[in-house]
Structures are given as structure tokens and as C-alpha cells.
């Protein structure tokens, strides 16, 4: 899945599967990734990581600490003791979240453990700050079971206004998110489920509009039944998509109620089991080809291999179909191949093709919105509000088959999403602070704009050193 503001190659190890012969982009991407990787290690060493904490109050002498710390601070503590929600007003809790991972499924690297997950979490924290104005603390934890993970996060929740779960293996991520969301009085988000699904739904809504289709009428095939697509399916159903006209396909073929792994799924992945029981009307069975026949939409979030979806799959679909090939770094089908097979609209997870379905279009703004509303949760209505606002945002520059979604270069959309999220939280009665739409918008613009000023100011003052030149020994051999 797309998940960064930088080219996706930087955040995903390329697939070592066979490269498609007609795919120079794949080779380019591999080579580029290796170069970026070396540089990233070099810079990480040079800067000693990517984030640090910075005071937000004036400190002119040690005497100030009588206010910021003891004895003055005791009164602040007592105020919060009397009303714990005042922590959102008297401390940085209102704008601070934890990025929590157990390191069980980091990028495309698999189970690499909490220490190795830290640089990724630091990168995410940087994105949260730069894009959303959110103070995010990386917290990779060593836990052995979902129960232990949940109780650990629950124990740390008093410090935070929200929890961003990151890089947790499917299907355990579903149970962890569900149970934490139920227990904690603050929003809990798992980007691999919600962020990707929301961005996908936003792109799809616009693709449907462009091709004069309605979500209530289309037949849709979801290829891949991991974290993202299971949530995409749930969101589509919430938007009125007919479950009968929705078909999921995974490595074992069409997911249907009589597939012989259903009993195992009931035990190990009840989320997928439930989808299997409710979708695929008419009881289609077989492979991807059997699924896509006559379908209007194919949403692929599966394995990075350009042969996963073939031109004949696209040709078997309804006229002018919509094809999203979201695997990173290599999409399930190259956009030009999909288009020449008849696809009317194509999206990928990559920034070097048009229509990038990118988590970063969603998560900073969602957190800006829920934090500004001091929301207690992020129900699907909030996720859908963000998706719809993102879709609306693309129309400002004009909706075309090449401009389905705003790019990261259209940041004016993000405060609008944050405001839509805040409005929805207020409407649902889960906001601790009920601002008006304009207040949410103004606040989001200010807070989301501030980090850029901060970064510039630090650079001007030389407090952040400039980028060192790239590895001279390698670049300029003598």
C-alpha cells in the first residue's frame, strides 16, 4: 500500500519476484531503492535519528522552572486529578499521540522486531508532524501476545490524545484495533486498515463519478483479503454497495461461504469469515477470472507483481472498468497495460504514476480533526467523512482520469479533511470539544501550517544542519 509522501520506493523493499520484461519502471525502482537505502542509512547516522522534543514555552532562566515544574506544576496536577479531561487543556496531551507497533509486519520486511521498527516509526512521526502538526511519539514495544499488546497500550494511554497502531500483522491487527477502540477513551487508528481503505474509497468514489456509475449499483472485485481490503469492503458496504455484488479474491480464489477453509477462518480470522458469509451473491467460485467477468471495479491490494492482474482480466470486465492496482512498489498490473486493455480509470500506490492512492492523504488530517475535537473514538462514519472530503478535494483542481485524487502537492485539501472529521465527531457526540466548522478549519490550517515554518526557521538558524552531500567516496571516485 502507498504509505508515504515520498516515492513509495523509499519505504518498501522491492519484490524479488520475477520482474516483468516490459517493465523498466520496476528495474528503475529497484536500483533507485538501493540507492535511497544507502543514503537513508548514511543520513540516519549523520542526524542521529529524525525527531527530537523541543520546548514550547519560553525558558529564560532556571527560575522559570518553578512554574513549568515544581512547585508550580503541582496545582496543574491537582486540577487534572479533579477532572482528568483537563489534561487535554493543561498538558500537551491534546496534540500528542503514540505510534505503537510490535514490529510484526513492518513495511514489506515482515516480522523484524521492535528495535528494527523504530526508524520506520520515527519516519511516521516526522510525517505526522510535518503534514498534520501532530506530536507523535514512536513506541515500538516487545509483546508476545495480543492481550499483552492491548494491556500495554492501555497502560500508556493516559499520556496520549490518540493512538496510531502501525505495522501489526493481519489478522491480529483487527482484534487489537477492535478491542483497544472499545477500551480506550481516545481515538485509536490502524493506518494499514483505515488509512489505506479511506484513500481507496475516496479514489473509487471519484472514479465512479467519472464513469457515471453509482456505488449502489456496481459490481466490485477486491483482490487480496488483508487488512486494507477487508476494511475497504466494510466501508463500501456502509456506503450502500450491495454485498451481493461484492466479491473478494485471495490466493485461494474467490472467497465464498462454502470454501473449504471457512471453518479455519472462523477460528483464525472471523473478520474475513464474516465477509465470506455476506458477500459474493450468486455463489461464484473459482479464480480471479471467474470473479472479474462483468465486474465494474477491481480493487487490487495484494502482492507486488505486475502479472497478478493480466490484460485478459481487465478485458473480461464490464466496459470502461475501474482498476486500482495498489501493491507497492510494483503494482499488480502496470497502468499502461491496464489502460490498453480497456480500463477507463487506473490508480496505483505510486507517486510516479497519476492517481496515487496514498495513506498520507488521510492519516495526518484525520488525526488533526480528531485531536482538535478531542474525540473519544474514530468510528467508520468519521473515516468515511474523511474519504468523502478527500474525494471532494480532487474536484477543486478538476476531476479527470489523471487527477482522481489530490496529490501531496495540494495541501490545501488537508485542513478541509480535518474540519470534516471534526464536524463528524461533533455530530456523532464523541467530541469533547465542539467547535464550528470554520473554527475546526481555521485551527487545522494554523496547526498544519506551523511545522513548515518551524522547519524553515530551524534550518535558517542552522539548528537543523543542512543535508550533507551524498556519499562522496561512492559518488566521486578519484
Amino acid at each position: 500500500m502507498a504509505r508515504s509522501a515520498v516515492p513509495p520506493a523509499a519505504s518498501h523493499r522491492p519484490s524479488r519476484r520475477k520482474a516483468a520484461p516490459a517493465a523498466p519502471a520496476a528495474e528503475r525502482s529497484e536500483e533507485q531503492t538501493d540507492q535511497l537505502g544507502e543514503r537513508s542509512v548514511e543520513l540516519s547516522r549523520y542526524f542521529g535519528g529524525k525527531i527530537e522534543t523541543v520546548p514550547k514555552v519560553p525558558v529564560s532562566s532556571l527560575a522559570d522552572f518553578a512554574l513549568w515544574y515544581t512547585p508550580g506544576v503541582a496545582a496543574v496536577s491537582r486540577a487534572i486529578q479533579a477532572d482528568p479531561d483537563r489534561a487535554f487543556e493543561l498538558t500537551g496531551r491534546w496534540n500528542t499521540i503514540a505510534i505503537v507497533t510490535d514490529g510484526s509486519r513492518v513495511l514489506g520486511l515482515g516480522e523484524i522486531g521492535p528495535e528494527a521498527a523504530l526508524p520506520v516509526m520515527e519516519g511516521k512521526a516526522l510525517l505526522f508532524k510535518v503534514l498534520g502538526g501532530v506530536d507523535a511519539i514512536p513506541v515500538p514495544i516487545r509483546t508476545r501476545s495480543p492481550d499483552e499488546f492491548i494491556s500495554t497500550v492501555e497502560a500508556m494511554a493516559p499520556a496520549f490524545g490518540g493512538i496510531n497502531l502501525e505495522d501489526i500483522a493481519s489478522p491480529k491487527c483487527f482484534g487489537i484495533l477492535e478491542r483497544l477502540a472499545k477500551r480506550l477513551p481516545i481515538p485509536v487508528w490502524h493506518d494499514d486498515q483505515l488509512g489505506t481503505a479511506a484513500a481507496t474509497v475516496a479514489g473509487l468514489l471519484n472514479a465512479l463519478e467519472l464513469t457515471h456509475r453509482s456505488v449502489r449499483e456496481v459490481r466490485t472485485v477486491l483482490l487480496g483479503a488483508g487488512a486494507a481490503n477487508l476494511v475497504t469492503a466494510r466501508l463500501l458496504l456502509a456506503l450502500g454497495h450491495s454485498p451481493q455484488k461484492l466479491t473478494l479474491v485471495d490466493q485461494k480464489g474467490i472467497l465464498h461461504a462454502e470454501r473449504d477453509d471457512l471453518d479455519e477462518l472462523e477460528l483464525r480470522n472471523p473478520w474475513k469469515y464474516r465477509i465470506a458469509l455476506t458477500t459474493n451473491g450468486g455463489g461464484r467460485t473459482g479464480d480471479l477470472m471467474a470473479a472479474v467477468k462483468g465486474a465494474d471495479v477491481l480493487l487490487a491490494a495484494s502482492t507486488p507483481n505486475p502479472d497478478t492482474v493480466r490484460p485478459e482480466h481487465v478485458r473480461a470486465m464490464a466496459k470502461g472498468p475501474i482498476v486500482f492496482a495498489l501493491a507497492n512498489p510494483v503494482p499488480e498490473i502496470w497502468p499502461e497495460v491496464a489502460r490498453s486493455a480497456g480500463a477507463a480509470v487506473v490508480a496505483t500506490g505510486r507517486s510516479d504514476f497519476p492517481n496515487q492512492v496514498n495513506n498520507s492523504l488521510i492519516f495526518p488530517a484525520v488525526f488533526r480533526g480528531v485531536l482538535d475535537a478531542r474525540a473519544r473514538a474514530i468510528p467508520d462514519e468519521v473515516v468515511l467523512a474523511a474519504a468523502k472530503e478527500l474525494a471532494r478535494g480532487a474536484k477543486r483542481k478538476g476531476l479527470t482520469t489523471e487527477h482522481l485524487l489530490p496529490t501531496m502537492e495540494e495541501p490545501e485539501v488537508f485542513p478541509e479533511i480535518a474540519a470534516a472529521v471534526g464536524d463528524t465527531a461533533v455530530r456523532l457526540g464523541i467530541a469533547r470539544r465542539k467547535l464550528s466548522h470554520d473554527e475546526f478549519l481555521e485551527r487545522a490550517r494554523t496547526l498544519m501550517g506551523r511545522p513548515a515554518q518551524l522547519v524553515r526557521a530551524l534550518a535558517r538558524a542552522r539548528l537543523t544542519p543542512p543535508m550533507p552531500r551524498a556519499g562522496p567516496r561512492r559518488r566521486r571516485p578519484r
Binding site: A257, D263, E264, E266, L277
Partner: protein
């Protein structure tokens, strides 16, 4: 030891036959092609609970043979669940139970539910309840004074299902590899 109950729903509503989406009838030998795969699904599900329930290579032949001998056996109850409406005549599940004699305990005749399996779409909505009631009645008609159910110890769904309906553990089977 074989046995148990594959996913028959978690309902506690009393059986109202008009809403139960299945119909039960005694199995015939001609049902074998439909029943064998269902029995195998159940045994494969059991394997998920414990490696000591690893399904044998020849499980399919075994399934056919056991069903074939139980269907006409007066000491056995084999019922077939068929769908209703559009699924009429489609075999969607089954139950297999035996009446056996307890040499030391009274009541002497024990009706043992060995296998219950229903396809996922035919679970809940009172289906399990209905199957259990019909099977118990058939076992009672064959003289059983007690009904028992065998299933993997780790199958919590089955355990909850029976406990809710007044069953309690009376014998434990523990195992280890040799």
C-alpha cells in the same frame, strides 16, 4: 476418539421450526457423496484445535466406510440437514450419533453425538438447537437415557454451545504423544 460439533451456532433462542433454515431427515446410502466431504471438513476443523487430531491420509475412505455402516445400523442415528426454499434438497449438514452401553454406570444406554457439521451459511438462527433436539429425541427413541457429545477440548464454540444447553463435562480425555 473422534468427534464433535463444527460451528453449529451460538443461539440460545428456543427452536421455532418455521424459521430454521434447514430440514432434517434420516440419511440414506445415496447421501454418501454429499456427506463424506462434510465429515472431512469437520475432521479438518478438529485438526486446527490440536496436532494430536491430525487427519489421516486415508480419512476419506474411513469417512465413507463409517457412514456407510452407521446409516443402516439400528444403534446409530445419522440425520441429513437439507436447505429450505431455493436450497431445498441441497445437503447442508449432518449429524452422526451412536447408542452405546455403559458397563458400569446407569443409565446404561448412552447416546453419543460424535459429529455435527453444518455449512457456515446454515449456522446460528436456532439451527444447532434444532439439530440437537432432533438428535436427542432420536437417541431417546433408541433407548438412550443420557446424551453426551464428543469434541476437541479446545473447541470453545462447541463447549459453550453444549454448556448453555445443560451439558457438563463428565469424562476428560487427556493425551500426549508416545
Amino acid at each position: 476418539m473422534s468427534a464433535n460439533k463444527g460451528g453449529a451456532g451460538r443461539t440460545s433462542a428456543p427452536t421455532d421450526q418455521s424459521t430454521v433454515p434447514i430440514r432434517l431427515r434420516p440419511a440414506k446410502e445415496s447421501d454418501l457423496p454429499a456427506l463424506v466431504p462434510l465429515l472431512l471438513r469437520l475432521k479438518r476443523l478438529n485438526e486446527e484445535f490440536d496436532p494430536l487430531l491430525k487427519v489421516r491420509e486415508d480419512a476419506e475412505q474411513q469417512a465413507r466406510q463409517i457412514l456407510k455402516s452407521d446409516i443402516p445400523n439400528p444403534k446409530s442415528v445419522v440425520l441429513v440437514a437439507e436447505g429450505t426454499g431455493a436450497d431445498r434438497d441441497k445437503v447442508v449438514g449432518f449429524v452422526r450419533a451412536n447408542v452405546r452401553e455403559r458397563p458400569f454406570y446407569a443409565p446404561v444406554d448412552e447416546g453419543v453425538i460424535l459429529d455435527i457439521y453444518l455449512l457456515p451459511l446454515y449456522r446460528r438462527r436456532g439451527v444447532g438447537e434444532h439439530v440437537l433436539a432432533e438428535t436427542s429425541a432420536a437417541l431417546k427413541a433408541k433407548g438412550a437415557g443420557i446424551v453426551t457429545a464428543e469434541f476437541p477440548a479446545q473447541n470453545e464454540i462447541a463447549s459453550r454451545f453444549y454448556t448453555k444447553r445443560g451439558f457438563r463435562p463428565i469424562i476428560a480425555i487427556q493425551a500426549r504423544s508416545l
